[in-house]
Symmetry: C2
Subunit: 138 residues, 2 copies
């Protein structure tokens, strides 16, 4: 267990967790840390991340069998992931049939950012940080 | 810079960033890592977290001067933070005039969880993890 306090996760409702995991794991390279199902209620929740649940920030996905859609509103903005190869990741996203809504753009800070869209329509900012110590965000 | 890939942040729109920072920093104990304003557009975005932007997960808050409210929908669920003293934190939340929507509850796993509400109405799950190695989530 890493030091507390810490940000542990962000929870998002999704329509189909299998489809979600195929994207976040198969395309974005996260791994499933926890996957729990309640057959009686059709409730399922899964935690994915780039490291263990006990030490790294996760995304929790929740679905209910009788709720195929959710209202996104406009309050939630996006998740953001940092990667080493933004061009490679965006190519992988497109090869998987998913959308790159804003192609990679180099910013004055030296970071490169892009936006992609997950299977439920959630936006994900992809950041390839400037390769300098103390780089500021895009 | 820690190893990539990693989850970097979750972005939420808020009505009043000063009010938001007073809660996330003054009550929850995060610190402001970045705070940028564009006077021309009244756009402001601030990153807060329990550690540096370059190495730890953050929450990004964004506001626009002409958008006092946002539609939350029901797709986004919550943020979750892990703490050492859930009772103390919930007392602090109530002392600040904010809402503890679900008081601390000890789960069979040994974790204790509660839910609190931030100034914009976003839910935050508070988790005091079981004090055992490899503790599973609440």
């Amino acid at each position: 267990m890493t030091a507390l306090p810490r940000l542990m996760h962000t929870m998002l409702h999704v329509a189909d967790i299998d489809r979600t995991l195929a994207f976040y794991c198969g395309v974005l390279g996260m791994t499933v840390q926890i996957d729990r199902r309640n057959p009686a209620t059709q409730h399922r929740n899964a935690f994915v991340g780039y490291g263990p649940y006990d030490t790294t920030a996760q995304v929790e996905f929740v679905s209910y069998g009788d709720r195929p859609t959710y209202d996104k509103g406009d309050a939630f903005g996006h998740l953001a992931i940092g990667v080493n190869d933004i061009a490679g990741l965006c190519a992988k996203v497109e090869a998987a049939g998913a959308t790159v809504s804003r192609p990679p753009k180099l910013l004055p800070s030296g970071s490169t950012i892009a936006f992609i869209v997950d299977p439920d329509g959630y936006e994900i900012e992809v950041i390839q940080p400037a390769q300098i110590a103390g780089a500021k965000p895009a």
